[in-house]
């Protein structure tokens, strides 16, 4: 056996490797880390943690790159929103954080050697994913946040709106689960 293979085998059998990189962490560990990092996010950027609002900015930047203008759109009409757009992608903390989430997720899968490009099983999956994505994106914008910005950060900042969001999301999840069982079983 080559030394490279031997080393790899040694790593994959190592208890620390299995515990920290191979096996999924317990839910409680994840919850505690998320809480700590959202405090760090609020303290360092001055804004609570959000994910989907960033995508609206990405959309605006792409639209502007093709010569469009969102200056008159109600959603981007505030001075704050305009300033964020003018400062650009490179100066936008939320954009870097989202890129970090994507790269971090990729890295964790690579470390666990679980990367797999999955097949699309049916046309139904494409339709459901596109429809679901559109509804989530649209809903998150008119609710001023997704399950991170409105729910997680809302509750973390002791805001009642986070709990209202939670109740509505629970109802939506029940309906969604029924639809899932109906169309995907």
């Amino acid at each position: 056996m080559s030394t490279f293979k031997e080393t790899m085998l040694k790593i994959s059998n190592n208890d620390m490797y299995k515990k920290w990189l191979k096996t999924a962490w317990p839910y409680v560990t994840g919850a505690v880390l998320l809480s700590l990092f959202q405090i760090a996010t609020l303290a360092s950027t001055g804004n609570p943690w959000g994910v989907s609002g960033v995508f609206a900015n990405w959309g605006a930047w792409i639209y502007e790159a093709f010569g469009g203008s969102v200056a008159k759109w109600y959603y981007f009409s505030s001075d704050g929103a305009q300033a964020t757009l003018e400062n650009g992608f490179l100066n936008h903390a939320g954009s870097w954080r989202n890129i970090g989430i994507i790269l971090g997720a990729l890295l964790s899968v690579l470390f666990a050697s679980q990367l797999k490009i999955k097949k699309i099983k049916s046309k139904k999956q494409i339709i459901a994913a596109s429809l679901g994505g559109l509804l989530m994106g649209y809903g998150a914008r008119i609710a001023f946040g997704c399950n991170i910005g409105a729910l997680f950060s809302g509750i973390a900042s002791l805001s009642l709106s986070g709990w209202v969001f939670a109740i509505a999301m629970f109802g939506g999840a029940v309906v969604g689960s029924k639809l899932l069982v109906k169309f995907f079983m």
């Binding site: 999924a24 899968v109 050697s113 679980q114 990367l115 797999k116 999955k118 097949k119 699309i120 099983k121 999956q125 689960s177 899932l180 069982v181 995907f184 079983m185």
Partner: protein, 75 residues
């Protein structure tokens, strides 16, 4: 004793779990259900559910990001 394989490759949570639950209901005690999955969250919730329900469970990592959850129906 029967061995049944269900192909859940390319299915996202909670589809593999619900499929396994439905299949297991139809099976006899002692039968083996093999669920092929490639969604890491199913690798967590499927064995967890089957163990709490009292069945014998084994997880095989058959390839990068691909698992077989083997469930023996006990009751």
């Amino acid at each position: 004793m029967q061995e049944i394989v269900i192909d859940c490759l390319g299915e996202a949570c909670p589809v593999p779990l619900v499929k396994a639950q439905n299949k297991l209901k139809e099976m006899n005690i002692g039968d083996i259900l093999i669920c092929q999955i490639d969604h890491s969250c199913a690798m967590k919730n499927l064995p967890e559910w089957a163990r709490t329900d009292g069945h014998n469970v084994e997880v095989d990592e058959v390839d990068d990001g691909e698992w077989e959850v083997v469930i023996e129906k006990v009751k």
